[in-house]
Symmetry: C2
Amino acid sequence: MRKIVGSVLLLAFLLVSVVFINGALAQETSELVGSEEEVYYMVTFNSGVNYWKDVYAGFEEAGNLYSVNTEYTGAIQQDVGEATTVLEQVIARNPDGIALSVIDPSAYHEPINRAIEKGIPIVTFDSDAPDSDRYSFLGTGNYEAGQLAAEKFAERINNKGEVGIVTTIGPTNIGNRVAGFVDKIESDYPEIEIVQIGNGGTNSMAASNTAASLIRSNPDLKGIYCTWADMSIGTVNAVREAGKIDDIKIATFDTDEVTLDAIKAGEIEMTIAQGTYNMGYWSLQFLYHVNNNLANPVANWKENNVNPLPEYVDTGATAVTIENVDAFYKK
Amino acid sequence: MRKIVGSVLLLAFLLVSVVFINGALAQETSELVGSEEEVYYMVTFNSGVNYWKDVYAGFEEAGNLYSVNTEYTGAIQQDVGEATTVLEQVIARNPDGIALSVIDPSAYHEPINRAIEKGIPIVTFDSDAPDSDRYSFLGTGNYEAGQLAAEKFAERINNKGEVGIVTTIGPTNIGNRVAGFVDKIESDYPEIEIVQIGNGGTNSMAASNTAASLIRSNPDLKGIYCTWADMSIGTVNAVREAGKIDDIKIATFDTDEVTLDAIKAGEIEMTIAQGTYNMGYWSLQFLYHVNNNLANPVANWKENNVNPLPEYVDTGATAVTIENVDAFYKK
């Protein structure tokens, strides 16, 4: 009896040991398995808007892959003071990494550089602080996205005819969407003529007026290229009021529900989806690799002023049309 | 006695079971642990040159992290026929992914697109086939690297004086190194004057002649910016022969041993290191994530013509000077 009890106790002891050792081994299996204490933050402004949801979906999914924690926070308003205060609060928690979207680069330099100095990896996404010490920027290559829009839109108007543009004058990213589009059309599509680049102001009402005037001045217009959602909302109204919804095709940017619905209704021909999921997904990976000393392009990269990460990631763009629009509705 | 034997047998059986179950669990721990059968190829041309070694070091290191196999191969010559034959041989082995550097994009389109169609993920690195179906390109942003060269070189010549350029006219990547440099100097450094852009041909001998003429025509020259190693080898000779090695500072690209030694000797002031390790490291990661259906920006991305990966990665550039040159020698 004693022997059996002894054997059972020994058995239990060995089982526990084996489970314990194997548990430790499982932890050691891969440097790509993070620790439960690791926390990575994604920090934005206008934090409630839908646009960020898809970015955070990618960030969170990558966090799950690495078995680390992710948190989302940001300024409620598009307010530099509030946004940098939120950033300071996050830095104070000493997280393992921060993915940050920036309103006004200059206001962010000091806290970004201080956090990097302190050993907190930072990458920017969607909008950058290029002169700070952040390791990488992940965002849409707007010039290239404009080129893609040109190619795909040309296809939809049979590579010929008059095209107008309704855009906002000023912001660099929007300007690049125009430049990429115009350059591509001019170099590759001799039978497409860009007849006018209209300033659609900063809201759908102004855009509607601009589009109406564009339509009046160019009776043979085959298409209008809009550079963001408010431009195309206004343009759709103007085209509808002019009774030309079957004659003039519209291209735009972004995948908000209004735009996707308009594609399904046949009022907008195509839109360019930005690589929002990719921004979050690869931001987390970059931060994880630096935080765990895996990204190591040169020995002692810190001391030798070498950036451990790629400088820039163009997260890409996709043409969305009636054929694939369903995949872009948020679940 | 029988009971003890029974207990010991039971014990042994349970131990084996626990080890087996825990082994299986360890396999399941992370989707970032690959399988032993996974093989990823890196494919180049001029396959023996040192330049690729650092790229493959990153590729192999990332392969080790994911516990997958990596292989390196490529055409021995810079020969399109040989290079595409090697690519076909790799495709025939049906690997889990291919990172490919391209000589002549058009010759690669058909095999790249066929492999993608077949389900083999392909990314390009260092030199691209932009009109193929490859998922991503990872390489140096040469325009941005030229801008970095301008900033760092300006610092080393106290932000003033006459500067000449010795470059090869023709290749886009080299042209962008000049454009980024010139644009940055013209916009940010009013006291630096670019006096001449000299065509250094395609070898160090021609570059030496060009540099000699540049030095003769501009007796107050403070610096010469060279766009690749052969240009600076020739330029160093010309400056030395003119007896001006202490008066004229030289900037260049790449981190071959000759260039690094010249920096140590004080004959070259600085060079721009490309992010070669990053090219390999992140190429493998991109391929792994696609091959294992982890990169998933949109549901059913294949059917919906969505690129599962970022379009482009600028793998970055680093200024190498006497202060950090030691870190760049290959081990």
